[in-house]
Symmetry: C2
Subunit: 244 residues, 2 copies
DNA sequence: ACAAAAGTGTTTTTTATACACCCATGC
DNA sequence: GCATGGGTGTATAAAAAACACTTTTGT
């Protein structure tokens, strides 16, 4: 039974962990057709002065998701929110703080994926730390491996959009069908579907309720404003839906 | 700027983490039409004498996936393997070792999802610790929150099966089309598709190559043996495929 | 009047589903 | 020769994709 007798040694070589939570918070600016990521400027070493994802270390008695909620609430005020765990990044070389001389302390990052409504999201600037939305195509070099986390999150966003109703967590409360279509083209690219087919498919699913209101944006016929009807969607929740 | 002045207090209340990796290792017994999970009997407190997922604490300089590979290799010998990160479970109440008197040490579990070929998988019994395949419908009460992890992993397995070629990591090197069909019905249930439709869909995709060999199993016409052709599949890798 | 944006409908093509039937083997 | 599992083909239904056309507004 090799290994059994070396229990002591094994225990000694265990990595020592600090666990942090980093949020990849996405929103979509339907006006400008851009996918945005929330970044904050680091105020502490390491990587001081570099942009990074909003993150925090987990406190005693706090669940991972609680920590994700907490750091999110510190940076941004929203009414609506989609939040789910993304991935856990824990390679030994991801953080310079884990050096041989610092007793091998390892910083593990459990990342969370969040979606918020751009229009209603209110950034909390405390005057000291920088905070800003960045378009996904023009991200700066981020601290740690946060560029990788964003990339991973963006992939998740594209996938989610195809088979789950996350779009309605990103759009304003009421929206036009072209808003919805714009959102899909912005995230998924131009060629995912014809507008009129997209339109009829979505309407046929039956969880978009016409508010009766119309909105006129420049020239052209005014568009009907729709609202996502969560109750009408509920029975479809576990069905393999296609939104594309 | 509330919070900034209380930095000391915050640091004091940070949770202290030990990070473990737990593997949900699945295989499918095509003979008996059963989905199996690998369990090991715990030799240490807490939960000594209870079945659990094979797990380990992460060592210095070791990545999470390395740890997953290591514990897997300690329990089972395989040629082929599919492995991916599943989820990170880190609620404060998941492990009795995190009690107030033990300085709030928290055991966080990064779980990995693995698929192996049942026929070629050789369990490593060290004579002391119990190790066994359990059918997923008859799992015992597992240690910690491992039942939840298995449930989560099983959901992943069902999803993966529908849109990725993981089945070929579970089947033997060569297999008949009914083996493949059996595997799908075993995991996904009886009514997912007609055999003949399943058959033609899979063959039309073009990555199953007929070995020319036949195998006869009792009465009935002998079945052709196929092999998964990874090269023929490669160009389809990023396409949204449907295997169901 | 006409361009622009919204919305409707029809045709064509592709894919899914159901199921009927032939084939090769063991007993 | 007939039951058993393997394998092929066809007819029908449904869904996806393409695109032509109408409606309502601003200018």
């Amino acid at each position: 039974m090799p290994g059994r007798g070396t229990k002591q040694v094994n225990k000694q070589t265990l990595a020592n962990f600090k666990v942090g939570v980093d949020n990849a918070i996405f929103s979509v600016d339907t006006q400008q057709n851009r996918v945005l990521v929330l970044l904050v400027m680091r105020q502490e070493e390491p990587h001081i002065g570099q942009w990074s994802l909003p993150g925090t270390l987990v406190r005693e008695g706090e669940s991972l998701e609680d920590a994700a909620q907490r750091i999110l609430a510190e940076k941004i005020r929203v009414n609506n929110l989609y939040l789910e765990q993304l991935y856990t990044f824990g390679g030994p070389e991801r953080d310079p703080r884990e050096s041989p001389i610092s007793f091998g302390v390892r910083y593990l990052s459990v990342s969370y994926f969040a979606l918020v409504r751009f229009e209603e999201a209110e950034l909390i600037a405390d005057g000291v730390s920088g905070i800003a939305w960045y378009p996904i195509e023009h991200l700066p070099q981020l601290a740690f491996d946060h560029n990788k986390i964003v990339e991973y999150g963006y992939r998740r966003l594209r996938n989610k959009l195809e088979y789950s109703p996350v779009a309605f967590d990103v759009l304003p409360e009421v929206f036009t069908l072209s808003d919805l279509y714009q959102l899909y083209t912005t995230v998924l690219g131009e060629n995912f579907s014809d507008y009129s087919n997209f339109r009829s498919r979505l309407l046929k699913l039956g969880f978009l309720s016409d508010t009766g209101l119309k909105v006129s944006r420049g020239a052209g016929r005014p568009a009907s404003l729709y609202r996502f009807d969560a109750e009408a969607f509920a029975p479809l929740k576990d069905k393999p839906l296609v939104f594309i």
